[in-house]
Symmetry: C2
Subunit: 344 residues, 2 copies
DNA sequence: TCTATTGATTAGAGCGCTCTAATCTTGTAG
DNA sequence: CTACAAGATTAGAGCGCTCTAATCAATAGA
């Protein structure tokens, strides 16, 4: 049997309560006793039982994190950052995944809650708002990449509209005016990105072209094929704003398959700046969400609630930035390749 | 305050013990009482407190999983599979990451252990064997992508030597005979892959060329530049066996940068069959580790130990398979492009 | 010498649950 | 009607810890 506090107390010749004080390094213990207790603990290989501790203290140093999709490196980056923040603040992270399914996610959320964590962070959850509400009644909840109206949960999001606008502005600045958006369908944040695209295009006096797609490479391929069929030259778009990086990679494949060169014939912008985009082989121009900042803010918001320092909700909306790489270029490459509409 | 078992008991008009029986769905409860208890629990929104439960029962349904690198999709796949297996068997997974640093990993391991889990699975851990030994004294431990000599831990690995051999055989079968390996350095499994490469080459009567590299795309780029400098035509290798997929992608970049076409001039094989390799844009020929099987076997091994059904260690060594895509091709493309050595 | 006062230590209750052993119900055979 | 087995229910101790309040020791002030 693993040694308990009682064992340590017996070996050190003190009471269990004193051992408890030492373990929580309370200042009200004499140096001599402290040393004796620590030595006894060391000799026995004693380790506090966190569950017993949290049961007795009615507090928890556990923070639950539910990840929508483990395969998505975007979340991995956020988790890594959360992890070091938690470490520094003396909290333990436990992770979980819902596998992009509302049902499994609901289970995962329940599991997390059954640990009676100090708080939980949900990364792009797909469960209904009511489920989040249930969770929020049990402990502080912070949402990342998902909006909420409830006043009991905090949210951290990137400004998808601004991100799309960044992409459009970049392409317009390069001389493009026939620009299409490959929409992410029902994916998290896809609606904002589409809205931002449309608004930015209109702001430039351009007609937005939107093709319904998905946040996958296959989705990008299909959307491009559809787009090329629907807009044959000379109406063919010369700039593409993809819903995310995967989609952009698929789009590039389909473009090359159709004999078009990127960026010479068509410029492509992704979204998320995943490690994929950074691969030299792709060098995808993309919109970067400030992941570190998002993680940090989410953590801070949670801790504030955990400590009871705040009860009103916060809504962080972070500004993305554009990372220009090799998939976007000046258009027209040679003059006289077309005539911009009067609006520009 | 959240409702406790006592509250449910009071509302249902029964004892706490009876509620406990219902919650663990014991058969020795009358249907009437069971219904009453369940209704009361429902009305109060009662949820059992896992920590209290595990404290009282001295058992745990928690399985700890430590992931070496969250950003690596290989682990994500394994975790997803472990998760559904655990779900089905009535266990709860808690995840953790060590961020590829032995120190952080040691902390993470400690955190996991402090939950007194039923068992733990370590995915490609980098902590010293002694640390694993310490963990194994507390609960069953299974290692994935890491070998061990200790008789108290089970291991699940893919046969890296066989995997490299698969790649070499494929290339030789396509007519290549100048084949180089981009070694993964100190990364997990890199040594086996290199050994397998060398052995397979010798088996074919060919001279193995090994360039020290890393499991990153930058590593692949640098290694290829080095390789091209060291082996100018006509000695230039026509086939590359990379340590992993990232490395292969980097290698392809550097090859194209040098004006060489893949697969026309040089064939490239990756390792791991990550989602990266599957992207149509890359279509990387690669060695596939049977991740699902690995996860399933790891889970089974753990559960057997947890249930006390086995005490001798098991060593699973799984056979990888080759996924042929578009980065490998027949050589020479046209006859008379070289002369194979007599050994073939 | 006797009481405050301060700091160090401990007894003991209790966190929410499980589990054993005891008690309470039935139903049925004698 | 009684006895008793079988099933249903419960009392109560205890898991490993924390926390409050009480106790104890030692010093200082009067």
């Amino acid at each position: 049997m693993r040694p308990t506090m009682e064992d340590v107390a017996a070996r050190a010749g003190v009471s269990r309560a004193l051992v408890s004080l030492v373990m929580r390094n309370s200042p009200k213990v004499s140096d001599a006793r402290r040393a004796a207790v620590l030595r006894a603990a060391e000799e026995l290989g004693y380790q506090p039982h966190v569950m017993a501790r949290s049961l007795a203290s009615r507090t928890s140093t556990v923070l639950g994190v539910m990840v929508n999709d483990l395969r998505n490196a975007f979340f991995a980056d956020i988790v890594e950052e959360l992890d070091s923040a938690a470490q520094a603040a003396g909290f333990d992270l436990i992770l979980n995944t819902g596998g992009r399914s509302p049902t499994r996610e609901w289970n995962a959320l329940h599991n997390l809650l059954s640990f009676r964590p100090a708080g939980i962070i949900l990364l792009s959850p797909v469960v209904p708002a009511s489920a989040i509400q249930v969770a929020a009644r049990q402990c502080p909840v912070v949402l990342v990449s998902r909006t909420a109206r409830s006043s009991t949960v905090d949210t951290v999001n990137d400004d998808g509209e601004a991100g799309s606008a960044l992409a459009v502005d970049h392409l317009v600045g390069l001389g493009h005016w026939r620009i299409a958006h490959l929409d992410g369908g029902g994916a998290a944040g896809a609606a904002q990105r589409r809205r931002g695209f449309e608004a930015a295009m209109r702001r430039h006096g351009l007609e937005p072209i939107v093709v319904r797609s998905e946040h996958t490479d296959i989705g990008g391929e299909n959307a491009v094929r559809e787009l090329l069929a629907a807009y044959p030259p000379p109406d063919r778009p010369t700039g593409l704003v993809s819903g995310n990086d995967f989609n952009a990679v698929g789009a590039i494949s389909a473009l090359e398959e159709a004999g078009l060169r990127v960026p010479d014939d068509v410029s492509v912008v992704g979204y998320d700046n995943t490690s994929l985009a950074a691969l030299r082989h792709l060098s995808l121009t993309t919109v970067d969400q400030p992941r570190k900042d998002m993680a940090r803010l989410a953590f801070e918001a949670l801790i504030e609630r955990v400590r009871g320092e705040r009860t009103e909700p916060v809504r962080h909306l972070l500004h993305p930035s554009l990372v220009v790489r090799a998939t976007t270029a000046q258009f027209p490459t040679r003059p006289k390749a077309g005539r911009p509409p009067s609006g520009t």
